[in-house]
């Protein structure tokens, strides 16, 4: 079956629909073929769909219907409203807009008539293919993971609508075309809007599988245009709803004094002072702490602070000190007898290292880091008095994980839980852990109270029971041949385990490979025939989680500072050295462009008095990035000031180009804090910091001038939400070296550490 292709139609329409994507010429858009394939998706109603989707299914005519559901993602109303379900959590990254936009583009819908509804928890229907169909928003993997499927769904809807019109008008479908929510038959000047089709639409039992135009040539109508994000307006007038804003009739408030160390449970509880606080309703002993129920949040917080609890001393984390941990991790990293789990291996690195003319070694460290999302963790639950059903409200990076965790905690089937999807006041990896502890809180407290409860963590709770980016020691050995060519690369990563703690389910299928700790060691665009990256994740008893840029944030720092050290030892320009490492693949060609362009933007070769420049490059899940920092150092205080940061990013097709820029700005600011000031310390297993006065995140005055260039290429879209973060510490460290000759090998580069490094360098004989 052949019909007039959308690409041709758009081409004929002229330049106003032309793609802004310019890097590659748009080749002639070929005809699209529609195939009814066995692999097609089932149309119609599936279990667990919200009411709005429970309309017609099968092939029954929908003459009486006010709306039809074409597939579990799209519902079309007679008034033309197109309801598109958005499966991803919205935490500021723009996914709630991006996925429906992709679908609407392929469906050729009128965007002004699109209404976006959060998809209900359902891994099978709404899971991200990249996470084995887990409905989990993380890894900057939403657009890249859902892209093909969402395009397919949109194309199917458009095709089914055209098929219905063809039948109704008794014309061949090939004579029909669409423009922004209307089906046309141009030769007779007939037209009908999508909404009008509802009255006679028949939905096939099985979806036709439609051959999509490849991204290299597809002409997009909404993708690539800066369509405003749908969540922005509500975020400028106070009407945007986060779970902390939820109020339900009869609701009371909960606060929980949590165990200071994971798996330490309450031993003795003295709640006399807490009970004396006016407004306190009850004290709830929990396996992991002591809860307070109260009439108001303030009474709950006051009573929580008045609790006197001693904790059982059996947990692994007691006695742990982050100050001492680096030495222990370094000993493991340096002990070749301790073998790790191979993350990536090619060739025979040990043999290649033996043959190398020179071997260099470097060691890099990082402290624990805290997410510091602006909305402290919280949730609301209303558990039925009989305990056999519950309604929950929370902002989570995984709707299905939240439901499963609550069902498990209450000992009831998942089908008995109604989930309300709320906006997230920041995620950064903190709200996707498998145990869903911050939603289990309100479920257990509501069950104890027999009425709805909102449990809020104070900022201090959020820090003290934080789940951190782990502490790291990275050790890299590199072998060079007699000509100075890099021939062997051995990267050993010692950190607390992350995936095993944050997500035991995913860890089980990972065969012991800690994806969260190890990502970023790969160097996919470098020509390095013999290499090994191995992970030595340690069970320290510390609470860990993915944190923006996950392992890449530290592993790339180790890579890029070490590469800079190699370039310096060889007397090669750091930009040229990196370009020289790139292999001949198309992916490396994109890397080359990103690096060359950032060097051009920063005027890399120009020396600036009192300032240093440093470069970093990164392939992050296929997105190509390069960054250059311009810094000065206050030698008295050791404080580093970043004056300028240049950055290039090529993430393939940019669905919302300005949002890619916004996410890159955001990633740079986040990286600045991790690079310079953010540090969690732990003594006797407990977190020392409490709030923003002792955990310092970047403020407006700390910002460099940011110069960001989006390089748009006709590749499958890759991630944008966190990719620039790892560039920042690397580029800053390398810039400080250019300025002072001193290497900073630990994140964060605190003023005291910089002072010490400068003093050590000064006392060393020249």
């Amino acid at each position: 079956m052949k019909i007039k292709a959308k690409g041709e139609r758009r081409k004929a329409e002229g330049s106003d629909h032309g793609s802004p994507i310019t890097d590659h010429a748009v080749a002639n858009a070929g005809r699209r073929r529609f195939m009814v394939g066995a692999a097609g998706l089932t149309f119609g109603v599936a279990a667990g769909l919200p009411d709005l989707l429970k309309s017609t299914g099968g092939t029954a005519a929908a003459a009486a219907a006010k709306s039809v559901t074409v597939n579990p993602w799209v519902s079309l109303a007679a008034d033309g409203t197109v309801t598109i379900l958005s499966p991803a959590a919205e935490m500021g990254q723009g996914s709630r807009t991006a996925l429906p936009l992709i679908l609407a583009d392929e469906m050729d819908a009128d965007w002004s008539k699109v209404q976006i509804v959060p998809a209900p928890p359902n891994d099978k229907l709404y899971g991200n293919p990249q996470f084995r169909y887990l409905q989990y928003t993380a890894g900057s993997a939403t657009v890249t993971g859902y892209f093909n499927n969402v395009r397919q769904f949109g194309a199917q809807v458009r095709y089914v609508l055209m098929m219905n019109v063809a039948r109704q008008w008794r014309v061949p479908i090939q004579e029909l075309t669409t423009r922004s929510g209307v089906v046309y038959r141009d030769r007779t000047e007939q037209s009908i809007s999508y909404g009008e089709i509802v009255a006679f639409a028949q939905i096939p039992a099985e979806a036709p599988e439609i051959e999509l135009e490849p991204v290299s040539t597809a002409q997009f109508r909404l993708i690539g245009k800066d369509v405003p994000r749908v969540d922005v307006a509500g975020k400028t007038n106070g009407s945007a709803r986060y779970s902390i804003d939820v109020q339900v009739p009869g609701m009371i408030y909960g606060a929980i004094l949590r165990e200071p160390v994971d798996q330490a449970s309450p031993d003795r509880i003295d709640d006399a002072a807490a009970r004396a606080v006016e407004g306190v309703i009850g004290i709830v002993p929990l396996p992991y702490g002591v809860g307070v129920l109260a009439e108001t949040p303030w009474a709950a917080f006051k009573a929580k602070n008045a609790l006197k609890v001693t904790w059982k001393r059996g947990a692994r984390g007691w006695g742990y000190s982050s100050e001492k941990a680096h030495a222990g991790f370094a000993a493991i990293a340096g002990d070749p007898a301790m073998r790790g789990v191979a993350w990536e291996t090619r060739g025979d690195v040990l043999a290649a290292m033996k043959k190398a003319a020179t071997v260099f070694e470097g060691e890099y460290r990082a402290d624990y880091a805290y997410h510091a999302q602006m909305e402290p963790l919280n949730s609301v639950a209303a558990v039925a008095p009989a305990g056999d059903a519950a309604e929950i409200w929370c902002g989570t990076q995984s709707q299905t994980i939240a439901v499963t965790a609550v069902a498990k905690a209450l000992g009831i089937p998942e089908s008995r839980i109604k989930f309300n999807d709320m906006l997230l006041g920041g995620g950064f990896g903190r709200r996707g852990n498998r145990d869903g502890e911050f939603v289990v809180d309100s479920a257990l407290m509501s069950k104890a109270a027999g009425r709805p409860v909102k449990v809020m963590w104070t900022r201090e709770d959020d820090v003290h029971a934080g789940r951190f980016r782990p502490l790291y020691v990275n050790r890299i050995r590199a072998g060079l041949d007699a000509s100075g060519r890099l021939v062997a690369w051995h990267h050993r990563v010692v950190s607390d385990n992350v995936l095993a703690y944050a997500d035991p389910v995913r860890f089980k299928v990972s065969k012991g490979r800690d994806n969260i700790a190890m990502r970023g060691t790969e160097l996919p665009t470098y020509a390095l025939p013999d290499r090994l990256a191995e992970g030595l994740s340690q069970a320290t008893g510390m609470r860990t989680a993915p944190l923006r840029a996950i392992g890449v944030g530290q592993n790339s720092f180790a890579n890029e500072v070490f590469i800079d050290e190699l370039a310096a030892k060889l007397g090669t320009d750091p930009v040229q050295f990196r370009l020289g490492l790139l292999d001949k693949t198309p992916r490396a060609a994109r890397a080359r462009h990103a690096i060359e362009e950032v060097a051009r933007m920063a005027d890399w070769g120009r020396k600036r008095p009192g300032r240093g420049l440093g470069v970093a490059y990164l392939d992050y899940s296929g997105s190509q990035l390069a960054g250059i920092a311009e810094v000065s150092v206050d030698r008295a205080s050791g404080a580093i000031k970043v004056h300028n940061f240049w950055c290039t990013i090529d993430c393939g097709i940019a669905v919302q180009p300005d949002n890619v820029i916004a996410q890159t700005e955001s990633s740079i600011v986040y990286g600045l804090g991790l690079a310079l000031s953010e540090r969690i310390t732990i003594e006797d297993g407990a977190v020392k910091q409490s709030n923003f006065f002792d955990y310092q995140v970047p403020r407006m005055r700390d910002l460099p001038e940011m110069h960001i260039k989006l390089i748009q290429t006709r590749n499958h879209p890759t991630g944008a939400g966190q990719m620039a973060t790892p560039l920042v510490p690397s580029a800053i460290s390398n810039a400080v070296f250019q300025l002072t000759g001193v290497r900073l090998r630990q994140q964060p580069m605190l003023p005291g550490r910089v002072q010490l490094a400068l003093a050590e360098a000064a006392s060393r004989p020249a």
Binding site: K235, M700, L703
Partner: protein, 156 residues
């Protein structure tokens, strides 16, 4: 501090009689009693600015002002900043697509409104200095600056 008091607050031009513990920060009264949830809790100690409201016309921290001290004072929240979300700053915030997670933005806008009411044409340095008490963890700072500059230029 242990017995509730009843006091009258003026919020967004309307008088409200509320009962709470006297040291209760007005933040919780606004959010949970008056259901004005646009004002956010971020740190509780005046370190992040997510709870910024105007008290007698000046930006202040709702988390640090107890209700016992607010009798006779006038509080303005994001919900009361403009009748139709059409304050020049709100328009500019949309135009620059400032918010990401959005949680801090009510506080940012209220602080920026305090800046412009005293200094309608701030320099970039003045903006950065004035806005630095407010944290945005998504790092939307550069867009906040641009939105304030836009509002100063296009505003009333």
């Amino acid at each position: 501090m242990s017995q509730k008091i009843t006091t009258t607050l003026t919020v967004n031009g309307q008088r409200h009689t509320v009962t709470a513990l006297p040291d209760t920060p007005v933040l919780w009264v606004l959010r949970e009693q008056l259901k004005l949830t646009g004002t956010k809790y971020g740190c509780g100690v005046g370190q992040c600015g997510a709870c910024t409201v105007h008290i007698d016309g000046k930006p202040n921290y709702a988390c640090l002002n107890a209700i016992k001290d607010l009798a006779g004072k006038s509080v303005t929240t994001i919900e009361g900043l403009s009748p139709d979300s059409n304050h020049p700053l709100q328009i500019a915030w949309n135009a620059e697509q400032v918010p990401q997670c959005g949680y801090c933005q009510s506080g940012q806008i209220m602080r920026a409104a305090g800046l412009l009411s005293g200094n309608p044409r701030p320099t970039r340095e003045e903006i950065v200095h004035y806005m630095s008490p407010n944290i945005c963890r998504c790092g939307t700072y550069i867009r906040i600056v641009r939105a304030i500059e836009r509002a100063a230029k296009e505003g009333a």
